[in-house]
């Protein structure tokens, strides 16, 4: 029982990071039909921005993290929007999908060739101590910290989307871009905001996950897959679906690693993906998409 609690907290902490990646995935799809198969690399890369700032430029940790977020917003947000998605989306969804796969490979190989093929130790802002929650239940403060920061980011995003006029204009753009335009919503700007949010969430996820799993060029492979699975499992057209999907996969893969076999850990998202597609294709929280002809 105490094991279970510990596993649950660890699972929620990883799940919250998955959720960050999955939310961005969903948002990009909603506002601009972009299925970003480079999403995993988007979470891998910001850690290296921070490492470059720290080791090459010799900046302090906090500043380096800020630089990493800023660089992510510019490169993974603005540049991705206008250099990759903008020109390619006019050619249809499929060419863009293939291009994001290519982008993922480029990012991965660039980090490997120009930075390092080795896993890099990444500093953490969170204290690396264990605390005892209940008698017998010990969790690391770092895990709690990850969970808190990720949930805070998610909460902030949810508040922004539902509680502010700009957020609701973004939702309107996602739900019906044509009508949003008819009402005078600056659709282009809302789409750019989505890309910025995606890049920002990826940077936060990167900063949270790299101290735990080390920063490595190949980190994106599993992360991208898990984000994709989490988005589908939760319902591709729902931000809250991505949250539920991410947390669920995080908890299940920690449980599977402990009770079944670590070898099966990576199979969890895929099994879940297959089950959902078979029995609930719109996802756990998704709604069926009706597309007007």
């Amino acid at each position: 029982m105490t094991d279970l609690l510990q596993l649950l907290i660890a699972g929620l902490a990883t799940g919250a990071i998955y959720a960050l990646a999955a939310i961005g995935f969903t948002l990009l799809w909603q506002t601009s039909q972009t299925i970003n198969f480079a999403q995993g690399e988007f979470v891998m890369v910001p850690a290296f921005f921070a490492l470059i700032a720290m080791k090459t430029l010799g900046l302090p940790l906090i500043v380096s993290l800020a630089v990493a977020v800023l660089a992510s917003l510019l490169l993974l947000g603005v540049a991705f929007r206008y250099v990759v998605v903008g020109p390619l989306l006019q050619r249809g969804v499929l060419p863009l999908v293939i291009s994001t796969i290519a982008l993922g490979i480029i990012l991965k190989e660039s980090v490997k060739d120009f930075y390092s093929a080795e896993a890099q130790v990444f500093p953490t802002l969170l204290p690396d101590r264990n605390v005892t929650l209940l008698p017998g239940v010990t969790v690391s403060l770092a895990q709690i910290g990850v969970l808190v920061v990720a949930l805070l980011a998610i909460g902030l995003l949810q508040w922004f989307l539902a509680g502010t006029r700009t957020g609701r204009q973004m939702q309107a753009t996602a739900q019906n871009p044509t009508v949003a335009r008819i009402l005078g919503v600056p659709v282009e700007r809302m789409i750019l905001y989505t890309f910025l949010i995606n890049a920002g969430l990826a940077a936060v996820a990167s900063i949270l996950i790299s101290p735990i799993y080390l920063a490595k060029f190949s980190n994106g492979e599993t992360l991208g897959l898990v984000a994709f699975a989490a988005a589908i499992v939760g319902g591709f057209n729902q931000v809250r679906g991505a949250i539920v999907g991410g947390l669920l996969i995080g908890v299940l893969d920690n449980l599977a690693a402990a009770y079944v076999s670590t070898a099966y850990r990576q199979a969890v998202p895929l099994v879940l993906l297959v089950l959902v597609i078979l029995f609930r294709p719109q996802g756990l929280l998704g709604r069926r998409e009706e597309r007007a002809v």
Partner: protein
């Protein structure tokens, strides 16, 4: 003529991709009246709306709205100029509440401070909106959704409302209600340009009719004259049998 015309099209050519739908269309829409656009499928009725509102580019010709040359205006500028557009079908944001759907009609409002008051006015005018303010828009009936769309369009106090097939999928009772809202708006000074599948019923509440065929104006006349013309009835209103 100039004074009582609110919208003028001069030889407008427009279409989608390589397809040309409007083939040099000219028409003059009277101010403060309901004008129903009729014509067979593919005549260019909806295309006319999209072109006038700036959703489709004008390849050639000129659109004049309320004394201003609005050719090539974006939808946002058309809203600012005093036009609103209620397209065919479902046009709400299904996951947002009724209140927030209504509020989005005010995005183009220059003075945000007036938004709450305008929303209150709309809710007073359509009490259903107040009752269902916090419900998700997707839970409204088809007719209620149309009312919300119309109210959302009215939020900016437009001079001209383009409304495409408002009665589609509505019960006969609801159709009557939508029509009476439109005549009420006209009586309040709003010009209405209407496309309606049920052309007879629409012409009956209209002041003028505009008959399109193959992207050109075939007839512009008073609605009662169009209704009374047996040839038009035969060609465009589904047979000559009186309704």
């Amino acid at each position: 003529m100039a004074q009582d015309t609110i919208l003028t099209l001069d030889g407008v050519i427009a279409g989608y991709g390589r397809m040309t739908i409007l083939n040099g269309l000219s028409a003059a829409i009277r101010r403060g009246a309901i004008t129903t656009v009729i014509g067979p499928n593919g005549a260019g009725k909806s295309t006319l709306f999209k072109t006038v509102f700036g959703l489709l580019g004008v390849r050639s010709g000129r659109v004049t709205f309320d004394g201003t040359d609005t050719t090539g205006f974006t939808p946002r500028r058309m809203l600012d100029a005093g036009m609103c557009y209620v397209p065919q079908g479902r046009n709400l944001f299904p996951e947002l509440s009724v209140r927030h759907n209504l509020e989005l009609g005010g995005v183009a409002l220059a003075d945000r401070s007036g938004l709450a008051a305008r929303m209150d006015e709309m809710m007073a005018r359509f009490p259903m909106l107040r009752e269902k303010a916090d419900a998700q828009a997707s839970t409204l009936s088809g007719g209620q959704q149309k009312l919300l769309e119309v109210a959302r369009g009215l939020l900016l106090s437009p001079k001209l409302m383009l409304i495409d097939e408002p009665s589609i999928g509505l019960s006969p009772l609801m159709v009557q209600e939508v029509f009476s809202i439109l005549t009420g708006l006209r009586d309040g000074g709003v010009t209405i340009l209407l496309i309606e599948q049920n052309a007879r019923a629409a012409l009956a509440i209209s002041d003028y009719g505009l008959v399109l065929e193959q992207g050109l104006t075939r007839i512009e006349d008073r609605a009662d004259a169009i209704l009374a013309d047996p040839r038009i009835a035969q060609l465009f209103l589904g047979g000559g049998v009186a309704a």
